[in-house]
């Protein structure tokens, strides 16, 4: 074997060895180890059982993307189509905006610290600006101030609004917003009341 060919063999081998010294887990390995580690690191408490760590397809896919990161179109289309198909609309899409305002303010529900009879809210204000008067609002989601004033209350708008609350991922794959109907967080009546809060011309949202 000539000196030249030895060099050719040694350099790649050394490079491989160096790489091995600072090796990192593959994306899949890291993900699988994270999931199995989580399953052995939590315990059921109150109403929060361990099956909450079992991800559905949307959660599995969306865990691959950073908040605000663009989701590849084919991935987004697939999620949105499947999630849209799951929306169930009630006969009456708009309820009472005053009841909706209460649901929007409540932040409890589904935490292991919440008793079984604790009210379950949507906590909209945690992430969205909604009205002129409530200045304690968050900014994770867009402002919804004047949501209805800008869009009207036509049947398609009512359907879109109710549908977005029911399953945000039907319109925006991997949205940060919970799928309130799909995941059975809110009742049909609560979602209709929130639809009214957003659309009713008398609601503080539209002042």
């Amino acid at each position: 074997m000539s000196i030249k060919s030895v060099t050719f063999l040694v350099i790649p081998a050394a490079t491989l060895l160096l790489t091995a010294c600072v090796t990192s887990l593959s994306e899949d390995d890291a993900q699988q180890r994270a999931i199995s580690m989580m399953k052995s690191s939590f315990k059921a408490e109150g109403q929060a059982s361990l099956d909450r760590l079992n991800q559905d397809n949307v959660q599995t896919t969306c865990s691959k993307y950073r908040p605000g990161e663009a989701i590849p179109k084919e991935v987004a289309d697939k999620i949105e189509k499947a999630q849209f198909a799951s929306i169930q609309y009630p006969a009456k899409l708009m309820g009472d905006w005053k009841a909706g305002e209460r649901v929007a303010q409540i932040g409890t529900g589904f935490q292991f610290s919440d008793g079984p009879t604790a009210p379950v809210g949507a906590n909209c204000y945690a992430c969205h600006r909604m009205s002129k008067d409530e200045i304690s609002y968050g900014t994770i989601g867009p402002s919804l101030y004047q949501f209805g004033k800008l869009r009207g209350t036509s049947q398609p708008i009512q359907q879109y609004t109710y549908g977005k609350i029911y399953n945000s991922n039907a319109f925006s794959a991997c949205s940060s917003m919970p799928r309130f109907g799909h995941s059975k967080i809110l009742t049909e009546a609560q979602m209709a009341d929130l639809t009214a809060l957003l659309l009713d011309p008398a609601s503080p949202v539209n002042q």
Partner: protein
């Protein structure tokens, strides 16, 4: 206490009338600065030092020979380098996990007893909160320096990063939902983006902290436990590998930040 009441008065003034233009977070920041010198965490630090030096457990030995990663008994600067891999345990450990390890292996305390009371209630103080206060205060002013020199440390960082983006539970929340973008808030509470070095440094170096609203020092594992509660996840177990992996990810992201813990928080 008088300093506390003056500061509380100042906060009220800040939040009323003409001062409304000033954001609530600026007001809270000023309140923090005003009472920082009188942080009640100091009481926990002193109590923690007593517990550290007491002969305890079946072996009647103090924790003074506990190796926090810089050799037996070396406390100054230890917190700035945690979590790290410990050969004797063949495991990456954060501060709380290491303290439990020393209680079990040095003092002969049963593991279940060492782990049973990590988060105090008003009726039941926690030795862990005091010990953590003492050890972290010994790194005040030092820079975070998590080396990730061992393969298992690097693995834990990568696994912790995956956990940070893990979406689950009825609400589809991940850590990243609240802590993955710049300049977001929940209601009026500013949220650090823990993937951005500056925010991660500021957040990590101010835990553990005396929580005014809870009247006690809360540890970093408590911070993770309470985040998961609000994420609607089940309960994160104390000293679990998931807690250590996430802490490794967050601590490393805070490297270079100057430790100011135990800090004071709302």
């Amino acid at each position: 206490m008088s300093r506390l009441s003056i500061a509380a008065g100042a906060l009220l003034v800040l939040c009323s009338g003409s001062a409304m233009a000033q954001t609530a977070s600026e007001g809270i920041e000023r309140y923090r600065q005003m009472i920082a010198e009188g942080n009640p965490a100091e009481l926990f630090e002193a109590k923690g030092e007593d517990i550290w030096k007491q002969k305890r457990g079946p072996k009647k030995i103090s924790l003074e020979q506990c190796d926090l990663g810089m050799g037996p008994g070396a406390v100054v600067g230890a917190y700035a380098q945690l979590p790290r891999y410990f050969k004797d345990a063949d495991r990456v450990m954060d501060l709380e996990t290491r303290l439990v390890y020393c209680m079990v292996n040095l003092q002969g305390i049963a593991e279940a007893d060492a782990k049973k009371n990590p988060y105090s209630t008003p009726e039941r103080p926690s030795d862990m909160e005091s010990l953590v206060s003492f050890v972290t205060a010994e790194s005040k002013g030092l820079k975070m320096n998590v080396a990730l020199s061992h393969q298992k440390e690097r693995d834990m960082y990568q696994i912790g990063e995956k956990m940070f983006y893990f979406r689950g539970g009825p609400h589809d929340f991940a850590c990243a939902t609240c802590h993955g973008e710049d300049a977001k808030r929940i209601r009026l509470q500013d949220l650090p983006n823990l993937t951005n070095q500056k925010d991660a440094q500021r957040a990590y170096t101010t835990w553990p902290a005396y929580r005014v609203s809870q009247g006690t020092v809360r540890t970093f594992q408590w911070r993770l436990f309470d985040c998961f509660r609000q994420q609607r996840f089940p309960a994160l177990e104390f000293t679990s590998d998931a807690a250590i992996a996430l802490t490794t990810f967050l601590a490393k992201n805070a490297n270079g930040g100057t430790l100011a813990a135990p800090a004071l928080k709302r």
